[in-house]
Amino acid sequence: MQLKNNYINLSKVTAIAIIASNALYAENYVAVEYLQYDENDDRVSVSAPTLSASYDIGTDYTIKGDFVFDAVTGATPSWQPDSASGASTRDNSGDYAYKNQEFDEGRTAGSLMLTTRFDNRDELYTGIDISRESDFYANTVSAEYMHYTDASHNQSINVGASYSFNEILSYDYDTSSGASSKETSSSINVQGGLTQVLSGSSSMKAEAFVIADDGYLTNPHATIVRDYNTANQKLLTENRPDRRLAYGVNLKYITLLNDDISYKANYRFYTDDWEINSHTIDNDIYYAMNKRFTFGLGLRYYTQTEADFYNGAKDFFTNQEFASSDERLSDFDAFTYKASVDFKQNDNISYNLGAQFYSQSTGLDATMLTTGLKYKF
């Protein structure tokens, strides 16, 4: 009897260990997601079908990829000639209004990541990301190494870096030329962190990051007004510094409140030499009601200070070298309210549906809807 009990206990322990061990590895899957993003006031609308897949090659390699096509339409606010005041062209003879500027474009993006596991089960992630828009090309290579510091795999440290090279088609908003030119920028992102299992039902992750941007960092679609109400008043493309150094920390904590409910908290602090500081607090609760349904609720809060060269007024800028009226560089805060439901049809097929409402103090409101199907094999 005792032997039988020991055998059962041993089997149970082995099974749980296998479950826990397997969870460290990705399952093979193919997933399709349809993502819809819509802003208020007839502004930006994005439809983004996404295809992603992950495949294990033995126990030492996993290859993962995704492909997305964003159809972006609508309008984005910027300073433009105010047709109501008689200036219907860019002749700088009339008044200006901060209003929606229509556009229509697409973005095609894909990424590929290879995970390599070594004999000690340390992992190396290498990846490439490519993104194509009509006026913006981005190419990124990245690598990250994760090392377990103990035999029980309760603690790991990771360090990674990425390099992005971008090509941007910029527009000279000056009336006389209106010409476009090709600009470039690059970005180096270095990140290091620590992941720690705190108990059988909670763990945390802390990461620090440094991002160095260099080159043409101006938004080619954003405009400013210089020397307003003078004989020299002009509507021009904004001008941002060609360097930006940012760093911050990101702290994550996840715990099981009971057998079926988990709580995840995330705090990020960010600061850069454009004088932008931001704080992000993200909370999510998941409830696995039964083997088929899982519900999620979340609340995200974000706040940032404005860039030192930002001003939203049309009569502010004169001869300042750096100037922007892009409200994304302004002082604002934002809330995101999240809800989701997952339905598992069987061990292979599951569906997901999600809705989010995003609200900025700038007046921007947006909804994000996601729906998808995942097939595991």
Partner: protein, 72 residues
């Protein structure tokens, strides 16, 4: 900021050294899908990150890969 970061990392490392070891067979709960840092659907998380990247002035801390303009 650098001193704060170093102090935070030191604090975390000191704190972690006092945590009781969790054995592999005690990690069943940690393996549940609802206990993953990246959420239930990494593809959706990636889309959300791109939205925030496009509409806010800060980024970072969610992996080293990425790309795109998000100018509009």
């Amino acid at each position: 900021m650098q001193i704060t970061t170093i102090a935070l990392v030191a604090f975390l490392l000191m704190g972690c050294s006092m945590i009781e070891e969790v054995k592999p067979w005690e990690k069943e709960n940690l393996a549940k899908p609802i206990m993953q840092f990246e959420g239930l659907h990494p593809e959706v998380t990636k889309f959300e990150s791109h939205v925030y990247f496009s509409k806010e002035a800060s980024r970072g801390g969610s992996g080293v890969a990425g790309g795109g303009c998000g100018c509009n």
